[in-house]
């Protein structure tokens, strides 16, 4: 039986799922290996019976926490995809501003109808088994992670500075792990050890 996979999105632009939808021919090969039971960007159907959950977006309100916990309960494996889900992403920019002001900027006079709190990556709420970093994610890296999981292998994501592509990291002397750690620290959802 093919493993069932589902996609979920929280606060984010859904650009990572778009990357996956853009796999084009490879998506057909992928469908040979898995059954997609939920993928809002490409299909209407939805099912809560899935093995692997791919979660995009960050957690920015109480309601998100409940939904994340439900996903964790349903899925055997949870994969965070994209910067918002893996490190909080660009949504975290609001974290040091007044939340009421943030709401008013975004929703204007309807601000009272919405709730929000500082953005966090999903592993601040639930345990995550694998990560596909990036904004947006790299299609090839996504496939690498999926293939690894299907083979029962922990996906290997390199921990060294991505020299040629990410000059910034090197410039500030950071490995990928350092950068992620610093980012989390900066936006206040990881306590300084």
């Amino acid at each position: 039986m093919k493993p069932k996979i589902a996609f979920f999105d929280f606060a984010g632009c859904e650009g990572d799922q778009l990357q996956i939808a853009n796999l084009e021919e490879e998506i057909l090969d992928l469908l040979g290996q898995v059954e997609v039971v939920s993928f809002r960007e490409v299909m209407k159907e939805h099912s809560d019976d899935y093995d692997i959950a791919f979660v995009e977006g960050s957690c920015t309100r109480q309601k998100d926490e409940e939904r994340l916990k439900q996903i964790r309960e349903n899925a055997k494996i949870v994969v965070a995809i994209g910067s918002c889900a893996t490190i909080g992403g660009i949504n975290s920019l609001k974290n040091y501003q007044d939340m009421e002001a943030v709401k008013r900027t975004v929703y204007g006079k309807n601000a009272d109808l919405f709730e929000t709190y500082p953005a966090r990556p999903i592993d601040a709420v639930i345990p995550v088994d694998a990560y596909v970093h990036g904004c947006p994610i790299d299609k090839k890296e996504f496939l690498h992670v999926v293939k690894s999981l299907l083979l029962g292998k922990k996906p290997e994501i390199p921990n060294y500075p991505v020299c040629s592509q990410k000059e910034v990291l090197i410039k500030y002397g950071l490995s990928v792990d350092d950068a992620i750690g610093k980012f989390k620290l900066y936006f206040g959802w990881e306590k300084k050890k």
């Binding site: 090969d29 290996q33 083979l151 292998k153 922990k154 290997e156 060294y160 500075p161 002397g173």
Partner: protein, 644 residues
Amino acid sequence: MNEDKKMHILSKEAFSEFINNLIADNTLNVVGVKSKGEKFAFGPLESANQLRLDYDVTLLPPKKYFFPQRETLVTYEVACGFKTKDFQNNKSTVIVGVHPYDIMALLHMDEVFRETKSDPYYSQRRKSSIIIGTNIQNISDSCFAPSMGCATIDYGFDLMLTDIGNKYAIDVGSHKGAELLNKYAKGVTKAFAKDIQEVGKKKMEILNGAKQKFNFSSELIPELLGKFYEKDSFWESHSEECLSCGSCVLVCPTCYCFDVKDNPDLSLKKGERTRTWDACLLEDFAKVASGENFRNTKATRYRHRYFKKGKYLFDRFGFVSCVGCGRCSSNCLPDIANPVNLFNDMYAESIKAGFQIDSAIIPEVSIDTVEEIKFAPRMATIIKKEPMTENEIKFELKLDDGSDLNHQPGQFVQVSVFGVGEAPFGISSSPSRKGTFDLCIRKLGNVTSKIHTLNEGDRVGIRGPYGKGFDSEFLKGKDLLFIAGGLGIVPLRSLFNYVLANRDEYGRVILLYGCKEPRELLFGDEILHLKDEDRVEFKATVDWCPENEIWDSNIGVITTLIPQVDFDPQKTYAVVCGPPIMYKFVIKDLKSRNVPDDHIIVSLERRMKCGVGKCGHCQINQLYVCKDGPVFNYSDIKGVPEAL
């Protein structure tokens, strides 16, 4: 002198035509130095106009044409097994514009890739290539090739160009070069004395033109390094700003370390195994599956780079494997990779400290190729799967071609699992057993976790046996003291069982075996009853025993067993294998019992990736565990600081 080895002259126009003729020949793949932004790089040539022989240095060295950044070693199909890649591209590659230091670097790489086991991919590409070198016209700011004696070169090329105004002087270095000139160039004339003089002058200009210079002779490097290994503060202060990014070694023309990974396609039924450049400066380079990192600080990794180039390769091959191209220093962001600065600092400190530094004596080297590396594993089938503890399973395997493994006790094999990868395992059965062999595998990383899910009848790939095992012949007639800690019993079992199978030929046999707690005891059924046997003296210990388990023997670490046995240190050989932490303590105790150094034999674990002494992952100082080990005599490694 051979007639075609004389110097020739070609006008610049005729030279362009020569290059264009090469490009026009579809049987040749012509590459050369072109501009890339403000820098230069080797790339395919479409016309002679693209050639920039006035370049200072290229971003990457031409080694990428022989040892590409990424290449497929084997392909696999779950149904059929592994297959070596076909060499479809039989085109000769002509590389135009190689500087002398890069030619020297290729000569170094040749030795590395042909030593003992030759790399078929590298050597085939090397054989089918033609090198057209060029003397340096503009020396880069970070180049120190003159200090390394690599600014000019008299061999290693097919043709060597020197720009002398409106024409090129061409040295012919090989038959291949002469033929090339004959076939594709028109208007070649003999060089006159003044041309030859002009070439000499150009070379002198290069030799005196470098901004970066050693304040001492580069022949002192190996000896100088030897004096500085233990100066931790020296290495720490020089590597303080290191980002562990690996740029210095990834651009190096003499670096050859690589990583091997499996890339399944989306069917998951087939895929390829690729090797990619790797860097010993990266944090995880020497990390093994159990989490142990044998070079876990920036300073030790930084030091390893200098020692590998300046000492280890010198001891093995007789050359300091740095050619002075300066790429490392120009690519280092914190600007700490310049060997000139480091060695000048080192030299200054050694003068201050009053060290006597002599030129290193070039070791006598004989590099032979014994065989070609076979990257494609043979297939083997799991005959029996027998759980031993919670985390360890014993697998009995049989090679599908029906042959025996023919291993020495103590050797290891590389086991491949389709799509997941390859990992090394000590063989735990005696070679006296025919037909099948045993591996005892602890679940730790990806490969081992996957192997644990396999069942009887499933197939895996096997490469090997590899490495140097125990010398069971030499040990005949000696008393043997086996000391095994935890998983260390696995490789020892191959010798232990061999000895038991040939019991009359050995003296006393003592086995001391310790593990953390009773339920972690391996081969319990097999060895616990040894207590009651005359032919073996056996003692076991556990570090501790939880209340719900039963243990009626010694409690304490393995060293608590050593005082409990009497042995004659002159007649006894101790055979030791266990977790890295164990060796120091066991050896100390053996020494206190007057066991001579050469009576202690150890089996070591490192991250063996290629298994054939090339990829660099298992290196402990100058030794490759996969090739020089995993079994070592203590007298050979007691001076090797990274070993124990």
